[in-house]
Amino acid sequence: MSSKADWTTFLEPVDPDSSDRLFFSPHEWDTVEALSARIIPTDHDPGAREARVVVFIDRYLSGINYIFAAADGSGFLRIDGHYATAWRSRIADMQRTYRDGLAQLDARCRSEWGEPFVSLDEDRQDRALELLSGAPKPGPVTLGTTEPASTFTQFLTDDGLGFFDALCLHVKQGFYADPVYGGNKGRLGWRVIGFEGPEKLKDTMDGTYSTDSLFVQDYSWADLIPQLKAQTTWALPT
């Protein structure tokens, strides 16, 4: 078993235009693509369909080859040892969650409307997502209000999630993750929301990518911190 420090890099960055299926059946692929298009719809900006979120999810569920990109984005890390065992078991669970979840979704759609999810019009697809989630379609976030929440953990894995919650999380990840994982094609997910992310992962390792210009350029500590004016001894380190 090799240490995580010595995991080797293999494979290539995922091609977002690939139509090779590594996990989904053709029908599952089409269903997940249609679902993703209702979770992040296409409007005057591209949505999950154009970002190739389905490719991202298919690769994730295919096994443990596409879990961790190499730091420089040149390929993927070959997970080894206990971590490989843990990830195999995690992905096997998630494969079952998807396979069963998709089958149940279709069964529900057939019993309600006589057709599988992919054949429904968008309004019925949204209705099917409401049934799947057990909650109404989310309404718009509006200004002028205060909406309290409770504290939560910052440790954000998909362990233990059911089909609907996992799907929403994975669609979001496929829309916004670095393009090396197969989604966020051409960084279009980032462009939709105005995130000026790096062109390549490698650019985050050597100073090529910088957000310097988004910091405040003209400032004086003494203006920001009136306390300093009351001091005679403060001085910035040089």
Partner: protein, 557 residues
């Protein structure tokens, strides 16, 4: 399993090479002692393994222990069955939590060391004074600031305790959301300043701090900007030639001899072989959860309830802090963008609400800092719509028009809040996992509510047009701050360690991480943990080991 290897005995074996273990490695090996450091995780190379990959670092736990291999369980009350929960997980690799941290390193205040004297006996709490005071720690706070690298402006915090030296590095420029915080704070008469930051902005001690990517909190830093023991103290320890680092080694027991003293540790190495490493001194520094777990796992004829646990207090009085916050949204059609995702997590904070003010209806108080709203997948946005047009519209509208003002909740110790061994759940080695039992005190909730509401007020003065307060229900362990499970004190019946972090029961076992804290500080604990580790290791070098040698010589004569 039988012991398969038994390397030569050393002066000191350190278990856990994070913030405090890294400090111990440096101080002990630079003093000429022969030291072995054992770390469960790998020794990653920052310039080779770290980059701005949100999915890998934030969602797929690349640097963290895998919850399937080393789970934890959690419950609120004793009559519940604890359930698996990633409570206060901390990165598992050389450098520990100094790899991923935002790096808030404010100094504690003199009041932090006197919580019982200041507040007396409070119902449900187990307050205790520290066995030393702020002024005893001050020289070591300064050593850490200079040796490890901390940026800040001396004199900017009007309530700071005595400081013997300014900072070695100046702060980053403010972010746009940070400037909003400064403006609102000034309008309200609040003393805003850059919270001291575990990073350098100049070429301190040969480091190249080129990382300005905004991939910071939870990411590894490929540059020399972040102060991380894996890139500072550990290489300095290795350079002495006296320190041997063994990564990917899982310590399962501290061994105790017939004379009641520790003989060393037993661990499983990367090849799966069981190894016994003898040492004259055992230093534990795995964090207050895993250190307590190892002590409770190390049962022997002389210590049937766990290592150095004659007081029965190992694992008890656990405190964890909690990160609470308030979000403010601005109007993308009227206001300027704030780029809440930019920066190095914190930009502008205050300690004006830190000391007890009885008119607020609770004791204690919090450190506050304006902080990043993070990257697209994990944008900090409670109530973010799960799907549909509302999701897309909300992200498009608010991603660049949000800011957040966070706080560290100063939770108070209660003896009932504890770490012990789970009766059913095991890790991949077959050892019982840590079980956390924790119920928030009413004072914790009241403090959180008051401060979150104050943060909302600041956001409103800053011009926020929608706010989201995030209050405390129960502690979820979302800060990685862990303290109290082997508290220091003078009395062996009411504490586990003495004022030098030496166990009362076993003179050659020292616990130098947050376990030693009798009360959680109101500030982020790492600066004080490292300073305390330095202070205790200096004691080992200057007093304990020399004295021991002399006493042995006398006894043998």
């Amino acid at each position: 399993m039988a012991v398969q290897k038994k390397p030569d005995a050393v002066d000191v074996v350190i278990v856990g090479l994070g913030a405090s273990g890294g400090t111990a490695a440096k101080v002990l090996s630079e003093a000429g002692l022969h030291v072995v450091g054992l770390e469960r995780g790998p020794y990653l190379r920052h310039d080779e393994h770290f980059s701005g990959d949100e999915l890998k670092f934030v969602n797929r736990s690349y640097m963290w222990p895998d919850a399937k291999l080393t789970p934890r369980t959690r419950r609120v009350d004793d009559d519940e069955v604890a359930q698996p929960y990633p409570f206060s997980m901390t990165p598992q690799l050389v450098g520990g939590g100094t790899n991923h941290w935002a790096g808030w390193v404010p100094r504690p205040r003199p009041s932090d060391f006197l919580q019982r004297s200041l507040h007396g006996d409070v119902d449900g709490m187990s307050l205790a004074d520290w066995p030393f005071q702020y002024e005893h720690l001050e020289p070591y706070l300064t050593k850490i600031e200079w040796e490890f690298g901390v940026s800040g402006i001396a004199g900017a915090d009007r309530g700071e305790g005595f400081r013997s030296r300014p900072f070695p590095s100046q702060p980053l420029p403010p972010t746009r959301w940070g400037r909003k915080f400064y403006s609102a704070a000034n309008e309200m008469g609040i003393n805003a300043f850059p919270i001291p930051h575990a990073m350098v902005t100049n070429e301190h001690k040969g480091r190249r701090p080129f990382n300005r990517t905004s991939f910071w909190n939870q990411y590894g830093d490929p540059s020399g900007a972040r102060s991380n023991t894996a890139t500072t103290f550990i290489p300095e320890a290795l350079a002495t030639g006296n320190f041997e680092l063994r990564s990917d080694c899982f310590v399962r027991e501290v061994k105790v001899g017939k004379d009641g003293r520790a003989t060393g540790v037993v661990y499983v190495d990367q090849t799966g072989a069981e190894v016994e490493q003898d040492a004259r001194v055992v230093v534990l520094s795995m964090g207050a959860i895993e250190t307590a777990r190892l002590m409770l796992l190390s049962q022997s004829a002389l210590f049937p309830d766990g290592l150095a646990n004659s007081s029965g207090l190992v694992g008890k009085n656990a405190t964890f802090h909690e990160y609470l916050f308030a979000i403010g949204f601005f109007d993308n059609e009227i206001d300027d963008p704030l780029y809440g995702w930019t920066g190095n997590y914190i930009s502008g904070g205050t300690m004006d609400f830190y000391e007890t003010d009885e008119s607020r209806g609770h004791m204690g108080g919090c450190i506050v800092s304006s902080s990043q709203t993070c990257h697209p997948i994990n944008m900090v946005f409670p109530g973010r719509p799960a799907w549909g047009q509302a999701f897309k519209d909300a992200d498009r509208t608010f991603f660049n028009y949000a800011m957040k003002i966070g706080l560290i909740l100063h939770d108070m110790p209660q003896e009932r809040n504890r770490v012990d061994l789970d009766p059913t759940h095991k890790d991949f080695m077959g050892l019982p996992v840590a079980r956390i039992t924790h119920r928030a005190h009413e004072n914790d909730r009241a403090m959180g509510r008051w401060q979150v509401d104050k943060n909302i007020e600041i956001l409103e003065v800053a011009g926020a047009r929608k706010t989201i307060p995030v209050y405390l229900d129960q502690v979820t362990g979302n800060t990685c701050h862990q303290h109290g499970t082997a508290r220091m004190g003078f009395d062996p019946e009411t504490s586990v360690l003495n004022e030098w972090c030496q166990t009362h029961d076993i003179d050659n076992v020292f616990v130098v991480d947050g376990s030693a804290f009798p009360t959680s500080l109101g500030v982020n604990p790492t600066l004080a943990m490292m300073a305390n580790a330095w202070r205790s290791c200096e004691y080992i070098v200057d007093n304990y080991l020399p004295g021991r040698v002399e006493r042995l010589a006398a006894a043998r004569a």
